[in-house]
Symmetry: C2
Subunit: 306 residues, 2 copies
């Protein structure tokens, strides 16, 4: 709670390892969450999300804020990518006690941000960081899941992404609060902005999506981007003052996930001892039953909410 780096790292390791202590830890920490502004940064591979986040860290440090970065690497084969990214960044910010950076591979979890990354955001929130950047590659489920942890979602695009971006658009345009067209020095930045603008709309809660050209390299447009982030933060603070609307949908999703995990974990333990299940496996091998019928029959007994 006092922001001690060793304690933070230890707490994150506990939730990463799904340690027994993690339930008790998160229960206590939960009471101290809800102060940080969580900014999700996502987009296709190679759009320069990391450099942009580094620039944002610098901008928010200049405002005197404590800043944390959680980089979630969903495709990392075992650990290679994540660890490398971590080290490169550590060099730059390692001497600043008000910046905390952590990388996390989400491999093994179902295609995106894991329980551990959600709990890590809460740990960083409880530890007193004002702004927490959660960076992840927007492929598959992650682009949806970042909405579950982030208050503000920045979608990073760049010129010359071509068809790939077209394919990703459907999902990415929907989730973004702010669109950052990075590498604005490359030709085509204006074109992508021009193509994007008619797609921007007013989101559920009343926020009008905005787009801005930036260059993480030259810092062009960074001031505008920060202004947009702050404007969205203010917008949310006003909303929250009047109702709990923006958070209830997020709690809904997280609770469904958590309950599902508990139910499945129990089911997975029970089935190998379930006599009908054991019998079904023998029958399947002999083709006396088909897998669809067998699973429906057995599931019957486990579908029974009191």
């Amino acid at each position: 709670l006092s922001g001690d780096r060793n304690s933070i790292s230890k707490a994150i390791t506990i939730v990463e390892n799904k340690d027994e202590a993690s339930s008790a830890l998160m229960k206590v920490l939960f009471l101290h969450t809800g102060k940080a502004h969580v900014v999700g940064v996502t987009g296709p591979l190679g759009t320069g999300k990391s450099s942009l986040v580094d620039q944002l860290v610098r901008s928010y440090r200049l405002k005197g804020e404590k800043v944390a970065v959680l980089a979630v690497d969903p495709s990392s084969p075992i650990s290679g990518g994540a660890i490398l990214g971590d080290r490169v960044r550590m060099l730059e910010h390692s001497l600043d006690p008000s910046v905390y950076i952590r990388s996390m591979a989400s491999r093994g979890d179902e295609g995106g941000l894991s329980r551990a990354s959600k709990d890590t955001v809460r740990i960083l929130d409880a530890a007193g960081f004002d702004t927490i950047f959660v960076e992840t590659v927007g492929i598959g489920q992650t682009e949806v899941e970042i909405v579950e942890v982030a208050d503000t979602v920045i979608v990073v695009l760049m010129p010359e992404l071509g068809d790939e971006i077209q394919a990703a658009k459907a999902g990415l345009v929907e989730i973004g609060d702010i669109f950052a067209i990075n590498k604005s020095d490359l030709p085509g930045a204006d074109k992508i902005l021009y193509n994007l603008e008619p797609m921007l709309s007013v989101k559920e809660l009343g926020w009008k999506q905005v787009a801005v050209k930036v260059s993480a390299k030259s810092s062009d447009g960074m001031r505008e981007l920060v202004a947009f982030i702050d404007a969205h933060h203010d917008f949310l603070k006003k909303l929250r003052g009047s109702s709990s609307l923006p958070t209830s949908n997020r709690w809904n999703q997280e609770l469904v996930e958590r309950i599902s995990d508990l139910v499945i974990s129990d089911l997975t333990k029970r089935l190998p001892k379930d006599l009908e299940f054991i019998a079904a496996i023998e029958k399947l091998a002999k083709k006396e039953i088909d897998p669809d019928t067998a699973s429906r029959q057995i599931a019957q007994r486990y579908i029974s909410g009191k």
Copy 2:
């Protein structure tokens, strides 16, 4: 069942769309499965799996077999990759009525081979194809899941993969029955074979893993590869004659998955109407309860296998 191409395509579309008819369809078809030899082909990106599969199709056609290919593209953003791969191949084999090729994107499913791809293999099996190649990129879960559908697993490697292959090795070495070092004309093919050989071991059922250098371009080594595939097929046939051992583990996994899906699908429908769930969401927003405690309390009532 007579192998009519239009019927096969229609059946696959039915299972892909999770159409209502799919349960009834798969129930009938299931009785006609179990004849085909299912060969999984996996490995890192860029190892030339597709070209190798094309060569294998040619080899098995020369033996007079009916051959099907199912290419599962786990990373395909919406559809781009899968469709392209499909068309390139169609050109070559489109005039051969004894070859059926289908591509499938597994995006949206939990990181790998989906229910639809398993059912598709059964459809192709029932349709009378002698050998079915299931090709997929070995990233994340897919490398594990291919074991669930394939009788024989070929892991495709290539020289100069460098560190990436080192990272993938742990998972890939475990699942392969046969290792094909593709692009054997490139320098380093002998080195990779030399490094791989001490890692090969005798698998659970008694099969000794083998490795072979191949070139999908020049057809070098293809004869040996085919001989290894056939040897593994014979090995399995002998095993199956004596017991149902090799299939029971697969049924175990598939049944657990199917039952879990049914239970979760039911849970997801019930929770929004569950009064304690609704109350918990309000309490979470007010921090009167933490998500871990709330989900454990609610899950209690759904964990109740009779």
